[in-house]
Symmetry: C2
Subunit: 254 residues, 2 copies
């Protein structure tokens, strides 16, 4: 089956301009050009376009898609995990925004009378994560962790005390992990303490606790190398163990 440009465009739900553009940037070339200069696409191109649109929907920019598609050695799973994390964060942010508007609409029907505190709350969290993502590493290198933490605490609207408590919890988790690991049992006393601490830690940074979210995060830990590197630091297999402990813990919660 062969397609002209607009046939393929209709099939895939994009504009023909889009296909010409993809041709231009060497993302998707037609299989051949006919005698009158028309672009003709075949099944292979249809499949490739599907892949492209798949990534585009994940909000991967075209430059990256080109790389993903052209280099077979490109680490696709890593790219996916990366975008997965972005999406999850984005959703969390959306949830918060929706909640905020909910309040505005439902409780103040039609009037925008949120106080400044509330107004800022919604996007401060967002700012802090964005800043961390973009500049976190750089800033940490330049000014050390303290500056970043303080500014993060400030942005989050947390007191420095809360923020430090959160950090302390994070460290306790790291300390407890190898000890719990030695029990070899994710449902052991120590392992469950670990999971409980982890939940407590979560409540500092997440707007609301849910079992699904907790499980999801645990899975992410295992899937994402950056986390496994972090939690396996003390003991190899620690991340996996933490995940198992969390799963047991979550399942136990009534």
């Amino acid at each position: 089956m062969e397609y002209t440009i607009s046939k393929l465009a209709k099939l895939a739900g994009v504009s023909s301009r889009t296909l010409r553009y993809y041709d231009e940037i060497d993302l998707l070339k037609p299989s051949r050009i006919n005698s009158s200069g028309y672009r003709i696409y075949g099944q292979k191109e249809v499949d490739r376009l599907q892949q492209i649109l798949f990534f585009r929907e994940l909000e991967v920019d075209l430059e990256t898609i080109i790389q993903i598609m052209n280099e077979p050695n490109f680490d696709q799973s890593n790219a996916l995990i990366h975008h997965y994390n972005q999406l999850v964060q984005k959703r969390a942010r959306l949830d918060k925004l929706i909640e905020t508007i909910d309040k505005t609409i439902a409780h103040q029907k039609g009037e925008i009378t949120l106080n400044n505190h509330e107004k800022f709350e919604a996007f401060k969290d967002n700012l802090v994560t964005e800043n961390e993502q973009k500049y976190g590493e750089e800033i940490r290198k330049k000014y050390g962790d303290k500056t970043v933490d303080e500014s993060n605490a400030k942005f989050r609207g947390m007191s420095k005390e809360d923020y430090e408590a959160m950090e302390k919890l994070g460290n306790e988790i790291l300390e407890l992990l190898p000890k719990a690991f030695k029990t070899g049992d994710p449902s052991s006393e120590l392992a469950q303490q670990l999971a409980a601490k982890h939940k407590e830690w979560l409540t500092y940074s997440w707007p609301s606790y849910s079992k699904e979210a907790h499980r999801g995060l645990a899975e992410m830990y295992v899937a994402d190398e950056r986390f496994t590197a972090y939690y396996d630091k003390g003991i190899e297999g620690g991340t996996e163990f933490l995940k198992d402990a969390i799963f047991v813990y979550v399942d136990k919660q009534n």
Copy 2:
């Protein structure tokens, strides 16, 4: 308290370029310019910037924000509801994407072996809603409902039969609503039938059912005039009643 451009920028977490740009497009003017041409902002401007950022976070474009901020008669609540709906849809889409990636990561670890059907599934729904939003009204005017429905059905990957079944359900809900309303009791037999039908209807258009989502939608119905207009068509207060019935129904589910 007065701020130079970079002080304000830091305070609000934006770049100074952004503030200059907002000045340029008359969105946020400094309170005064000092003798050497520096922009100086006061408390009023800080507040205004907060408002601006609030809307910007809702992904309202700056042109619209200018209108919202400059015309006190601009219907703010309507604008909010509009954006609320957009956000909710966006989140639903995100959920779907996350689910898809979940599958990819978890089940095929590292390998992208989704079949074409799955690959398209994730963004076909998105396309159809976007098309509906942008062109739905126009197309409906031009070609009548049938064309739109068929094309929607096609995009959704639904059979025409399924789509029509869904439409039939929608109509049944509209018919049942006044009858159930007359019982005056959201937990009455008829009202619960109504809610059950509504759930069934939902399963056609939503990727997965959840109590929260169902409740959320019911709340949206009441909050959004377009829905109240629709469900109050048969009987005044119908929307509210439908919401109550759904809440009872959802609570009853195990």
